[in-house]
Symmetry: C2
Subunit: 143 residues, 2 copies
């Protein structure tokens, strides 16, 4: 796979916003910390706005602002907002082969179990958990 880094970038963005509570932060400022370009940041910010985690304001002195409590935002929430895909993807086996049918059914069940186990771990962590230390460090020495 050419893998997406949308999920870690989204967490990074939200952490950045949580370090500036109540302020509108520009995609340009965020892009510097993430080490990417403002358009990439805005694309992901758009998904976070759709999910209701962030609000944005166009124009001078505009930007993005965190709209939820970092303690109440789980990593699973973030993951599902920006990365809706499932980990495993089934292939499309021969439709008339009974062996293929059996494999498909059983494997899909295992895939679901594995995905759920993974998601349970993400659900157990909040944005606060992963951003608290980072924000403290940040406030002592800005980028």
């Amino acid at each position: 796979m050419s893998k997406s880094t949308r999920f870690p970038v989204a967490v990074h963005i939200l952490t950045f916003l949580s370090a500036h509570p109540g302020e509108y932060v520009s995609s340009d400022a965020i892009a510097k910390s993430v080490a990417t370009n403002p358009v990439a940041v805005r694309k992901i910010l758009g998904m976070l706005v759709k999910a209701g985690f962030v609000s944005s304001l166009a124009g001078s002195r505009g930007g993005a602002k965190l709209e939820v409590d970092p303690q109440k935002l789980s990593l699973l929430d973030i993951y599902q907002a920006v990365e809706q895909r499932e980990i495993f993807q089934m292939h499309e086996p021969h439709p008339n082969c009974p062996l293929a049918k059996g494999v498909k059914t059983d494997l899909q069940q295992v895939f679901d179990l594995a995905q759920t186990a993974m998601e349970r771990q993400l659900a157990a962590q909040t944005l606060q958990d992963v951003s608290q230390k980072a924000v403290l460090d940040f406030n002592q020495a800005m980028c």
Copy 2:
């Protein structure tokens, strides 16, 4: 991600082999059941040979043969043989930003926990578990 279907295809291949114990099966026959082409099957078979799960024989009446007990081969074994990638990939944030550093460290830990939880589910299932029913169906009605 453009996602790989190597893992489910590998399970399918191994199930097919387990339905023909002691026989050498050609990549062509397997390809028909998987609904792909023989070269794709041989590529994955090559990984399974490297992992020691399968042996192969070139030439007339050659093919691939299962070399392990389906009850002792976990889905995690198969997954790791054909799909070495990690689910989540970190981005490369600004090296001098303390906020970025903190996020990176904490997120990596969460990624590891989530990946481990997923792998534990795969480790709990054997090839036998997912192939048993399929093989029975298959022996009643071949593809």
